[in-house]
């Protein structure tokens, strides 16, 4: 297991190092699909320069990263490339670790006999961590975002750490990493929905009676919330003392929530808010932002026994509906796809969706060229592709969700369903 992983890391690092040295890296770091105003390396450099001059990096309208990131790079700026590689490699290794824990959780005697082919064989399970690492490290999206030195790589690493520590059951670390992720960009807050499902499955065996169980559950929630809020408080205060002002709050979180920068990206916000009348702006801003948080509750109710799948869904929802998405965010949830390899037989639109995703990824630069350089197309062309790309992502995620639910259904009721009259039954989603 270690040998292929090392090989994989070597390949991934070589590819990135080669791209860093080539002339392509400059081109890539300018692409709007790869960097957003939040994560662009160019802006971090600008912030660093301001910091060195003794000016608050948030005094202009360029820098929107968090204070801790800028202080991190303050010390590491000469090794920026190395940092990004480490963060990417790190997150992949963590995610690799992550799924070892997950083994055999699903195999139990309570399922009907004919479901045996639905349950993953140990051999398949064995390769999953490696596949996850491969999907993350060799995903062109990750490579692009790493070569562009987008700080998105750091955020991904933090989220991966959070998932790892959560699944390992380390409550304190989990709370700290969650607060770090929230601090970096607000959206990972929704990942806390995980709490409702993790302790439940852990506690269920310990409980003697119903009310003790409920009590323990709420006690755990309170504990976790305390740790989470405490560490968030510490981090925010630390940032305040580092900079000596609260400038960064509106400049980072205000920037994320109120979406003032309408540079085109692969998200849904820019075109809509560029076209909108000013007096509707606040209303639609709320509608768009609520989208990210809206699905948390139903999902966490439905998936309360499947924390990892819940994380996957949440990450996907965040990366689709967040205000400044980049391909780096997409690559994070795409790394989870090999984990659900057992769902492949239930996927319905995977061919269509992967064709659309592929075509869209190729069309982004083409339409950008036609719009910005050739001047012959316009923003509608680019936004059409953005829409299509997001629709494909939503279809992908909902397809996986449907497949997951259907597998659950089959696990309970048997794989080959029969109607009452004996003919083969079909499941219809309505």
């Amino acid at each position: 297991m270690a040998a292929p992983l090392t090989l994989l890391l070597l390949v991934a690092v070589t590819v990135r190092a080669a791209l860093f040295r080539s002339s392509l890296s400059e081109l890539i770091s300018e692409r709007v699909e790869v960097v957003s105003p939040l994560t662009a390396w160019k802006r971090v450099i600008e912030g660093l320069a301001l910091l060195d001059l003794g000016v608050s990096p948030y005094s202009g309208d360029v820098f929107h990263e968090t204070p801790l990131t800028i202080y991190l790079f303050h010390f590491l700026v000469d090794y920026a490339e190395v940092t990004f590689m480490v963060s990417v490699a790190g997150s992949s290794v963590f995610s690799d670790y992550l799924f070892r824990k997950q083994k055999f959780a699903l195999e139990a005697d309570r399922y009907p006999l004919d479901c045996l082919e639905l349950i993953r064989s140990p051999k398949e399970m064995y390769y999953i961590p490696l596949k996850v690492a491969m999907f993350y490290l060799l995903n062109p999206f990750t490579i692009l975002s790493c070569v562009a030195k987008s700080t998105c790589g750091l955020n991904n690493a933090i989220i991966a750490l959070f998932i790892l520590s959560t699944i390992k059951g380390n409550v304190l670390l989990s709370a700290i990493f969650l607060s770090l992720a929230t601090y970096q960009s607000i959206y990972p807050l929704t990942l806390s929905a995980l709490l409702t499902s993790v302790p439940l499955s852990c506690l269920i065996n310990l409980c003697v009676t119903q009310w003790i169980c409920v009590f323990l559950f709420w006690w755990f929630i309170v504990q976790y919330a305390f740790m989470y809020l405490g560490s968030l408080f510490v981090i925010i205060c630390l940032s305040f003392f580092l900079l000596g002002s609260w400038d960064y709050l509106p400049s980072v979180y205000g920037f994320i929530l109120s979406v003032p920068d309408l540079t085109p990206n692969i998200g849904l916000f820019w075109y809509f808010f560029a076209e909108m009348f000013e007096h509707f702006r606040l209303f639609f801003l709320c509608v768009f932002q609520i989208n990210v948080f809206f699905y948390t509750i139903p999902l966490s109710i439905k998936l309360k026994e499947h924390p990892v799948f819940l994380i996957f869904m949440q990450l996907a929802v965040i990366s689709i509906f967040k205000s400044y998405p980049t391909v780096g965010d997409i690559s994070l949830y795409m790394a989870f796809l090999p984990v659900w390899s057992h769902l492949h037989r239930f996927l319905r639109n995977i061919f269509l969706v992967s064709c659309v995703l592929l075509a869209c990824s190729a069309l982004f630069p083409v339409l950008w060229h036609l719009w910005i350089y050739a001047g012959s197309a316009n923003s509608n062309f680019y936004y059409a592709i953005t829409l299509l790309f997001n629709v494909a992502q939503i279809l992908l995620v909902s397809d996986y969700f449907y497949a997951f639910l259907r597998r659950e259904h089959h696990l309970t009721y048997g794989l080959y369903l029969k109607r009452k009259d004996g003919s083969e039954a079909t499941l219809v989603l309505k």
Partner: protein, 610 residues
């Protein structure tokens, strides 16, 4: 969404699509070609109309009187050109200064990667002369360009004369709100490129322009080689098949109608008998000429490089043929004056009208919404084939033992990666080697540099066919059924995305490639008769497509050539393509060598899978 979620209907649809795959594909192909041919039929096209308000409703009056004097200046220019044996820089500067312009020169030098035999140049050294007429009525933030080339021999003297005449006349008018730049460029496009780079400070080849006007809004390039002309021809096709805004063509057409000058596009007059067979075939010819020119991706006039800088530009060519109807220089001057006055009225860049269009005649056009379905029908074939393959692949194979299925993916990936990597490496070789190896080739073989480049390209191209792509046989024994299906699925999707992107940037190129490559992609399997299909595959390969296009183009221009001449022309077209890429950054050569050719090699590989 019912279709996406109801399993019964999905199954019915998919079984319909897989069962009738071949007939549907054939029908789609026919429909695509028929749609394309129908585009030239006049009732299916739209009449051109002026979309830009600033140019549409305003009246201008043309008063340019001095055609004869302009021609005299042209003769003087020709005499000085002959004396200096190139651009008469001193004389031009003096004359322009005398007309009251601010005059500047720009020197440039450029070494071609290999000698250009068509234009007989290798080390190019030259000077551009340009004079700026400062706008009296506005801040100098915008400019218009009128350019004329200083060509070798007796060509285009009248164009320079008329340019100087117009400069003198424009200088005395008070209504200019935009700077007007009068440019005489040497060595046609090379000079033009140096000037544009110098003007926009993106310099690589020449010196910077010392003085600039405002940002250029529109440009016209004038080519005129006789005192009296019979018609004016409008050339629109620019670099990489880019076209100027349709309003520029409309403007030209409107003024030709107003002043009463015969105007042509692709050298074809417009006819009124669209309902007769000959009238329709005339329109088809005109449109096909435009398609061929656009597909070539090269600039067909000196205006071609302006488009890269967001500047709407066209070339106007004076044609002197044996027609009765004659037009003198004063009339052309008035026409240009009218066009510039209208352009002077512009409030913003030309953007109202279409950028993607084909023109079956100067008064009719086909917009992107009408011609894209023709391409779409061809592209759908690829998707249908891909769907068919996907269904074949995803029907679960009979598993005998558990052990077999586990090795399968690794082997599958290897047998997929090898042909992909090898064919792309061949593509890279085809892209790099011709220019790198010219010296060595010249040393060892009795050929000139240009021939060496072209012949190396052809040699690499042919060698690519003979390469042992099937290394997967060494790795894992016989190629499997599964293996070629996966490879074909990848190749078909690759081709679909590639052609789609190409068609968006340059519709004509994408369509011509789709016309030849889609049948290949659709029918190739390892089980078809080898020799016959190999023959068809070679016939439909990119190089042969180019060869046929050369003959077809000559046929369309009503200048049929013998096979011998056609072959020579084919060779020169290849060398021109390589030159266009290295001089102006045309994308056709890298596109064909780095992407299309490897993709075609994948299909070649599938044919010889076993």
């Amino acid at each position: 969404m019912g279709l996406l979620s109801d399993p019964n209907r999905r199954r019915a649809l998919i079984s319909l699509l897989t069962r009738l795959n071949t007939p549907i594909c054939i029908v789609c192909y026919m429909a695509g070609v028929a749609w394309f041919m129908g585009l030239a039929f006049e009732p299916f096209t739209l009449r051109t109309y002026m979309s830009e308000n600033a140019m549409g409703s305003t009246m201008v009056e043309e008063r340019f009187p001095a055609g004869e004097r302009a021609l005299a200046t042209g003769r003087e220019f020709s005499a000085h050109k002959k004396r200096t044996g190139g651009m008469p820089v001193e004389w031009l500067m003096k004359t322009m200064q005398a007309k009251g312009l601010e005059v500047f020169t720009q020197r440039f030098s450029r070494t071609l990667p290999f000698p250009d035999e068509n234009k007989e140049r290798y080390m190019v050294r030259g000077t551009n002369v340009y004079g700026i007429l400062r706008a009296p009525r506005a801040p100098r933030t915008e400019a218009l360009v009128l350019s004329a080339p200083c060509s070798p021999g007796d060509n285009n003297n009248q164009a320079v004369g008329l340019l100087l005449g117009l400069a003198e006349y424009f200088r005395n008018q008070i209504y200019w709100a935009k700077d007007i730049i009068f440019l005489v460029n040497e060595h046609d496009l090379i000079g033009m490129q140096a000037w544009l780079e110098g003007y926009h400070h993106t310099n690589t080849t020449g010196t910077f322009c010392h003085s600039r006007g405002g940002s250029i809004q529109a440009a016209l390039s004038l080519e005129l080689s006789s005192d009296i002309i019979t018609s004016l021809d409008l050339v629109l096709e620019g670099l990489n098949g880019q076209l100027p805004n349709l309003d520029l063509a409309n403007l030209f057409y409107a003024f030709c109608q107003k002043i009463g000058v015969l105007c042509t596009i692709q050298g074809k007059l417009q006819r009124n008998d669209w309902d007769s067979v000959s009238g329709y075939s005339h329109a088809v010819q005109t449109m096909m000429l435009m398609v061929m020119k656009q597909a070539s991706g090269r600039p067909w006039g000196d205006h071609g490089l302006f488009l890269r800088y967001h500047i709407e530009a066209a070339t106007i060519k004076g044609v002197n043929s044996f027609r009765q109807y004659k037009t003198d220089a004063t009339t052309i001057g008035r026409l240009l004056e009218g066009m510039y006055r209208k352009l002077n009225n512009l409030l913003e860049r030309l953007h109202q009208s279409y950028f993607f269009y084909l023109m079956p005649s100067l008064s009719h056009f086909v917009s992107i919404g009408y011609y894209m379905p023709a391409f779409g029908l061809l592209a759908v074939i690829l998707l249908l084939r891909a769907l068919d393959l996907w269904v074949q692949l995803s029907t679960p194979p009979q598993r005998t033992e558990d052990g077999v299925t586990d090795i399968e993916p690794v082997r599958g990936v290897l047998s997929l990666l090898t042909p992909l990597v090898i064919s792309h490496l061949t593509g890279v070789a085809l892209y790099m080697l011709p220019i790198r190896f010219q010296e060595m080739a010249v040393e060892h073989f009795p050929v000139s540099e240009t021939e060496a480049v072209v012949l190396t390209a052809i040699a690499v191209y042919t060698a690519g066919l003979a390469l042992p792509h099937n290394t997967h046989r060494l790795l894992s024994g016989e190629g499997t059924e599964q293996g070629w299906r996966v490879l074909k699925l990848v190749a078909v999707l690759y081709l679909a995305v590639l052609l789609g992107c190409t068609a968006l940037i340059n519709f004509s190129l994408g369509f011509i490639l789709a016309l030849t490559l889609v049948p290949v992609a659709a029918f190739v399997t390892p089980h078809v008769p080898k020799v016959l299909s190999a023959f068809i595959l070679v016939i439909l390969s990119p190089a042969c497509t180019l060869l046929f296009s050369v003959f077809f183009f000559q046929e369309l221009q009503e200048m049929p050539i013998s096979f011998q001449d056609g072959w020579l022309l084919f060779l020169s077209v290849i060398s021109q393509g390589i030159l266009d890429h290295s001089l102006y950054g045309s994308l056709v050569y890298p596109l064909i060598t780095l992407l299309v050719y490897p993709c075609w090699l994948l299909f070649w590989n599938i044919l010889f899978w076993n």
